[in-house]
């Protein structure tokens, strides 16, 4: 059974509101570019000639990638192709031996991870990396860390403005909880949650950071059909309502072909294809490396 995009659309239509207005206001407030048709032409994230190798293994070789504003880019490729490595380079985990990463025309190759996150490049992980000891809502508020405006002394003394700020952050976080339909597990420790819900909580935590670019590393891995449809629905909602560009690594070709604006294909650290889903489907290199013959 594959994900049927019609089910996803139907469910989206049934929903009367997104409930992410507070978060959207935060993101809109300091959006550099105006929200009009032109934004699709503007490159927001650029990866230039990235080469990285671990010992003798070439994880990535001269990979170029551009992400335009408001675009949903899917990265596909066989296991070990370097997809996650690419995300790790973007989010500052690995330092590439060669090449640079630009975010909004600013070179971020040598920025530390937390600074890159503060700039708005947020990601989820392939293996869930939540703060297991905290509840779902606390995980999401913890995700808002860079946006909380008081220092630890004020927090310790718990002055009225710290209390007000906490309530404001909580309001935004509760919004995200509502959006992800996790109200019933809001106060549950994430360590005790089911896999699908944990994956969803992680998406929520990434959203809490007010992403300008959202990197999703296999958001649907290991899920059943219902959960996949839910996640696909959330990704489309985020993409449309917040109009932020999304980079998504995914193996479910049905979903990728249905929701992605553009697809990049990696194989053994080389980019072998880049284009609309239609172009990728016909690309002979991609077919032989990953998709397979009909």
């Amino acid at each position: 059974m594959a994900v049927d995009i019609r089910n996803v659309t139907k469910k989206r239509e049934q929903r009367y509101s997104y409930g992410l207005t507070l978060l959207r206001d935060c993101i809109e407030k300091d959006r550099v570019l105006p929200r009009d048709e032109d934004i699709f032409k503007k490159t927001i994230l650029k990866v230039e000639d990235i080469t990285i190798n671990f010992g003798g293994l070439n994880a990535l070789t001269d990979v170029n990638l551009e992400l335009r504003d408001g675009e949903l880019l899917a990265i596909i490729g066989p296991n070990g192709a370097g997809k996650t490595t690419l995300l790790n380079v973007i989010s500052g985990f690995y330092r590439p031996q060669q090449g640079d990463v630009y975010f909004q025309d600013k070179k971020i190759t040598h920025y530390s991870s937390h600074r890159i996150a503060e700039m708005g490049i947020c990601r989820t992980f392939q293996n869930i990396a939540l703060y297991t000891g905290l509840s779902v809502i606390d995980n999401i508020i913890a995700g808002r860390h860079p946006h909380i405006r008081y220092n630890f002394l004020i927090g310790m003394l718990y002055f009225p403005w710290a209390r007000r700020e906490e309530a404001r952050q909580r309001a935004i976080s509760e919004d995200i909880v509502d959006f992800l339909e996790m109200e019933h597990v809001r106060n549950t420790t994430v360590g005790t949650l089911a896999y699908g819900l944990r994956k969803r909580a992680e998406l929520g935590r990434a959203l809490a950071l007010e992403p300008r670019v959202l990197l999703l590393d296999e958001p649907m891995a290991g899920m059943n059909l219902d959960e996949k449809e839910d996640i696909a629905r959330f990704i489309i909602d985020i993409h449309e309502f917040l109009s932020i560009p999304i980079v998504m690594i995914e193996h479910d070709m049905g979903v990728v072909m249905d929701i992605a604006d553009r697809i990049a294909v990696l194989d053994f650290g080389l980019k072998i294809g880049d284009g609309t889903p239609e172009e990728i489907r016909k690309n002979p290199k991609v077919v032989s490396a990953y998709l397979g013959e009909e």
Partner: protein, 355 residues
């Protein structure tokens, strides 16, 4: 669906402020206030022996809360906590002896000095974790003890130093144990309240984030180096204040009180109390110091049974009790007294039903 039982049944949060409160129900608020009032009243009715226990409970609760922040919340093992308590005591003593400070002026310094030293010794935590960090933090203990015992001109070496309790304030004479206890209790309550606030606000969540998943924390915009060093700083601040309060009670300080074993038992009883909660820290401190007292009380009993041998045996009681309780708790309730307490509260809330 997972049912959330951490909240009492029928209690709803009507706004976000209510959701953020420490005590959500009127009953819990009342019980907390009642407990604090009882603790204050105890100061007036208890005799000197009980007071000596209560003051030690309070001082070590503050110290244990500090270790809870470092180890329980931020996940950084520190094997030098007793030494930082010693730095707090010696700070008060040296500033009083050499510069003529009074207790009130020396008390903040007793927090700030260990804080700075703790932050310096917290620097290795940026690069190493777990067992390796535990060994690195051992260095703190040895360096501090070495400096204190050899810097004779300032610290009087191994002879120890005298320090003075605070002068009278608003007509209250703190030389009387009763009033000194009230002072210690007040400071303890304030410190624990601050620690609780810390753990439910921005930095506290960052601590837990670093403990649970430091890689994810870094990618989620938390500056790990900053957070870890602050954890050491705040934890050692608490240790220093605890030292100053305890030292003020005895009015004397000696480096022999801060042995490596104390640092290790600090960690051991933190586990007994339960990692990752303020309640656990207090429980750990109270259990630790109660056992201490119990082993002293056991000596006359054993004297009747064993005669003169009891003098030698009593030295071992402390160790036997400590080890026994740590082993029993590790086997039966590895998550400490705090977890057991949570289970009890849970079953009370769900009372007629088992779950």
């Amino acid at each position: 669906m997972t049912i959330n039982v951490d909240r009492p049944c029928g209690t709803f949060d009507r706004n976000y402020y209510q959701a953020m409160e420490i005590f959500r129900t009127p009953l819990r608020k009342f019980l907390m206030i009642a407990f604090i009032v009882v603790m204050y009243i105890l100061g007036f009715i208890a005799d000197d022996y009980i007071l000596s226990l209560l003051i030690v409970f309070c001082a070590f609760s503050v110290g244990m809360t500090g270790l809870q922040i470092i180890t329980g919340y931020a996940g950084q093992i520190s094997l030098g906590h007793a030494a930082f308590m010693g730095v707090g005591m010696y700070t008060v003593a040296t500033f009083q002896a050499h510069l003529g400070f009074n207790f009130w002026m020396a008390l903040p310094l007793a927090g700030l000095f260990p804080m700075i030293i703790g932050m310096v010794f917290g620097i290795p935590a940026i690069r190493i974790k777990g067992l390796y960090l535990a060994f690195a933090s051992l260095a703190a203990h040895f360096v501090i003890v070495y400096v204190i015992s050899n810097w004779r001109s300032v610290t009087n070496g191994t002879d120890g130093m005298y320090l003075h309790r605070p002068e009278t304030l608003l007509g209250i004479d703190f030389m009387i144990d009763k009033y000194y206890y009230l002072l210690v209790l007040t400071i303890t309550i304030i410190m624990i309240y601050f620690a609780k606030n810390l753990t439910r606000t921005r930095l506290g969540r960052a601590f837990v984030a670093v403990r649970d998943n430091d890689i994810a924390a870094e990618v989620m915009g938390i500056n790990i180096a900053h957070t870890k060093i602050l954890a050491f700083g705040i934890g050692c601040f608490y240790a220093g204040i605890a030292g100053a309060l305890g030292g003020g009670y005895y009015e004397y300080v000696n480096i022999e009180w801060f042995t490596l074993t104390d640092s290790i038992w600090y960690l051991g009883f933190l586990v007994v109390g339960g990692l990752g909660s303020i309640f656990g820290a207090i429980a750990g401190a109270v259990v630790w110091k109660s056992l201490d007292e119990l082993s002293t009380l056991m000596t006359p009993v054993t004297e009747a049974l064993m005669g003169g041998m009891a003098f030698y045996a009593s030295a071992a009681f402390t160790l036997i009790f400590y080890s026994l309780i740590v082993i029993v708790v590790l086997v039966l309730e590895p998550r400490g007294i705090n977890h057991r307490w949570q289970i009890m509260k849970r079953s009370y809330r769900l009372h007629p039903f088992p779950y």
